[in-house]
Amino acid sequence: MIKYLNVIPGILISVSAVAMSQNLDKTQPMTTLAREIVRDQSNSDAETFGGYLSAVGQFVGKGGNTVTFQPRIFDLDKIFCHNNIEVDTDYARTAWERNLQINAGVTPNSKNLFSNPTNVQMGFTFALINNKEIPLEDYKSVVDSYQIYTGMQSYLTEQIYAIGNDTIKTIIRKIINHQDYSSLPKFLQDSVQKKFGHSISKMMEIPENLMDSLSHILPRRPQLIADINAIHGLGNRGEAGLDLKVSFSSYIFIQKKADVDPQVNLSASYSLADDITQSDVNISRSTLDVTAGINTIFFSRFDLKPGISYTNILSGLYAHERMISYSPTVSFLIKITEKLVAVIHWSYNTDNAASTANFKLKTSLE
């Protein structure tokens, strides 16, 4: 049996390291806004490729016995070469670094986690279409809008200072502090309108609108991912093979964010492997998986995603195995802190009446 094709139960711990630049320069608002935009994504979105908790390492504990490291090239660049690099540093040039992930893993034997591994795995994941990233034009728009907003703040401060009457000055200050912008004197309203082309009330909504539009729409956009992973058995143990996989995921309603949110994942995979049950026999196997789930968010901290998975084994069917099977799945995600997410994933295979579960912790070392 080709074990590595199955979901492996166990404990997954993944770590991401995104060092934070302390330099304050003109790109800082963009970096911070970008980070907050992705932070506002749901826990489920954190699981996607390039999500805000991008995985640098994963560990599958006892039961699965697989240790894998999955850094994006961008993360490696940040850790080993340019520790001041931010997501907006040379944004266009570093796109390929953000879209390419290395998958390296080792499966220790069941008795000793750190010696005599059974097999090693190596591969790549590449985001062919990564619409969850902020497009360059939106990025520029974020910066421009925030600069206009701070420009208005600076202008307002100057205008208030220039008012000769201390009583009026105090009244205006109190109106602003109570966010009752429509009550501000007409001369101030007109002055801002003339200089910035928008009312003070409208200008004050800029940061929230920026966050809302990008943080709601970006995670919902489609993503197309290609994986190529090789496994090599060591000694006379384990199995060997090559796995090719193309996955597509998207929300159904991209433009709006609802508490109950349908999500669809499709994947097609092709595997070429040595079957260890029949020595010297190469098995090629292709499968089609379609998973549809409905993500529900509770209290901004919990995601529950029940779904159903359809599997069609197009070729390489084993004896006593059904060509088509359906598996109910449930994912429960908890945002423990802003930088720590726990995921429990359960699935039930109706073909062999077996259920599998895994527990994963993802954190950021920012």
């Binding site: 304050l24 970096t31 980070r35 907050e36 401060t157 208030i160 200050r173 940061p207 802003e338």
Partner: protein
Amino acid sequence: MTHFKGTITGANGGLMHLSVVGPENFHFDKNYTQSFNEPIKLSEGSYIVSMQAASPGKFVFDVVDGYKSIDPEVPDSFNKSIHVYELQV
């Protein structure tokens, strides 16, 4: 030296902007993230200080040393808005 301090808690990044306008065309503007402690040398006189916290999360603003009075009083706490202060140095 007057120290302007601010911290946002509960936000991953926390974006802030300080603007200080005073006598003799004094105008100070700066962006900050997460927290800051900005010492500014202010000459005697009246100033208008505006502090903006654009990020979600609790923002606490304080001014320490080198001033006679400030209205409203500090430390002050707000989120996702601009607060304006009258500062006497």
